[in-house]
């Protein structure tokens, strides 16, 4: 039945290829649009191959910006987005690891109550508590600051839950062996728990970095200055609907640039995943 299996394989490949094309074509189109000049894009006769304006468009958008709506160079917005995403990802990992450590390894009064309160915040994402959160941030004079962008998004339970589940799979004997080996709570955390958590940390970092990078609603609310806006907001602002002309080639270039860091993070962390998996599974 060799023939049949070949047919099956062929069909599978065709379906997969169609799937990839469906996903990849808009990305390609975006890229192509970012390499032509404004008139080619706008008159609806844009070819499906890259044009000669790649360097010009990207140089302009990175260091100068659009002429109408956003004005700021995109490199600054990327920096804003990067700082916000990193702050969210790292801040969340820091808080989650510590809180999960406390909940799993310490016996203190209202431990479970503390855990459930953390758990309940899962039901209260920023969108739900947006007004009170905005009020607090503005009262603390954190509008138009990096703290204001990142801190409210750091507070959430997903990371704590993830680490709690992971810590609970670590055998108690490791803690006991550490105790006998003279490692106090901090040593155990630093020497045993953190190295064992590296893959989980990497996973959470990827998720949270992308989550932070893609934030739209919250940055839209708390940033008013052009110098503080993030790249995701900028894309939206560049697409003008009313009186001005949308510089599509620049908006598309910005979109390409906005995609880049998350992709890089995934690729870089994927290696760490594999490394971590190989090391622990062997």
């Amino acid at each position: 039945m060799v023939e049949d299996r070949r047919m099956g394989d062929l069909i599978a490949y065709i379906i997969l290829t169609i799937g990839v094309l469906i996903v990849a074509f808009p990305v390609w189109l975006t890229f192509v649009a970012s390499t032509w000049d404004a008139s080619t894009v706008i008159n609806g006769e844009m070819p499906l191959y890259p044009g000669p304006y790649f360097l010009e468009n990207y140089k302009r958008i990175l260091f100068v910006g659009t002429s109408s709506t956003t004005r700021e160079p995109v490199i600054g917005m990327m920096l804003n987005s990067f700082i916000m995403a990193m702050a969210i990802a790292l801040g969340k990992i820091f808080i989650s690891v510590l809180s999960a450590y406390a909940v799993v390894y310490y016996r203190f009064p209202f431990r479970m109550a503390a855990f459930w309160i953390i758990f309940i915040t899962l039901m209260l994402p920023v969108e739900v508590r947006i007004f009170p959160t905005f009020k607090i941030v503005s009262d603390l004079n954190m509008l138009d600051t990096y703290q204001g962008l990142a801190v409210p998004l750091i507070a959430s339970a997903t990371g704590t839950l993830l680490f709690r589940q992971f810590f609970m799979t670590i055998p108690d004997e490791l803690l006991e062996a550490s105790k006998i080996d003279g490692a106090g709570p901090f040593r155990f955390f630093k020497d045993t728990l953190l190295p064992l958590s590296m893959t989980t940390i990497a996973a959470l970092f990827v998720i949270q970095f992308i989550y932070g990078w893609n934030q739209y609603l919250w940055p839209l609310l708390v940033t008013t200055k052009d110098s503080m806006q993030t790249i995701v907001i900028a894309i939206k602002k560049m697409i003008v609907t009313a009186d001005a002309l949308t510089e599509w080639q620049l908006a598309m270039a910005t979109a390409m640039l906005a995609m880049l860091p998350p992709v890089l993070v995934v690729i870089a962390m994927q290696r760490l995943f594999v490394k971590g998996l190989v090391e622990t599974e062997k």
Binding site: P171, E173, L174, E176, A177, K179, I180, D181, G182, A183, R187, D191, T192, P195, L196, E279, T280, E281, K282
Partner: protein, 359 residues
Amino acid sequence: MAQVTLSNVKKVYAGGVEAVKGVSFDIPDGGFCVLVGPSGCGKSTLLRMVAGLETISSGEVAIGNRVVNEIEPADRDIAMVFQNYALYPHMNIYDNMAYGLRNRGTPKDEIDKRVKEAARILAIEPFLERRPRQLSGGQRQRVAMGRAIVRKPQVFLFDEPLSNLDAKLRVQMRVEIKKLQRALGVTAIYVTHDQVEAMTLSDKLVVMNAGQVEQIGLPAEVYRKPASKFVATFIGSPPMNILPGAVDGPGIIALGDAIIEVRDLREDLAAQAPVEVGLRPEDVEIASEGQAGSLPFDVEFIEELGATQLFHGKLAGQPFVMQAATGEVAAQEGRLWLTVDPDKIHVFDPKTGARLGKG
């Protein structure tokens, strides 16, 4: 090197469950004490209290004349080997062994010396750079022992260290543990549910049941003269046969149709009082049919163990197992006649399970 003394040690859990109900004994310096009992008997809890991994509800644990109730595990001068080895998976073997010493601030060259020495003793030198996952169970077990040795503790604590190994390796490691403990002269407490390990390793055997000590003694002593029906059936494989009997007079027991004069029997027992009679499978002898004092044994099937054979059947109507050297008894089903050596009979109180002996 130190002696370990437990005085009236109790463990009561938060819910009120009494896991250990007042245990007292001491282990001489350099002694090898094995705590044995069925699961849930409190033996591991007791060990963990000595280690400092469980708090002591009441009573005292002393290591080398120092009461350690309130002392941290790391400062008790003990080393523990866990059932699942509890090696640090992210550290190589060298670091696994060196970790405790580093935490204590031992100088680097001293650590190096001790780790290499332990690796040499345990024949794990080629693996020092590897991770625990790259080693077999037996090798990991050695590393766990190495981690204990390098600390040069006063007491070794073993928590069922051989349970995760296959049968052949278990026997091999058992011998090695004993040799090692002798060579180092370190006091050891060893928890196991395996009565063979308990018998072979210990020079002080503590049999526990339901949070209490049933008997303490030399292994041979515990085997020869079990203090209770529980000990009698727990120690020994196959287990001791228990048959219903009755008192027939001072020092005399009726077992089925046989009247046996038992030397080690309390003489104040009421006549006709029911008793339980314990007989080890190897403590019966073949008699000729109808011989005075003999009992009929109907063999139902025979198990071959190589050097010995187990005869399963009914002795005077009660389930019974007899062990005999292969070839000693014709291996066939049917009726045999057995006599019992009165010195090897154990008599227990059917209600309390206590031995009804003289002393």
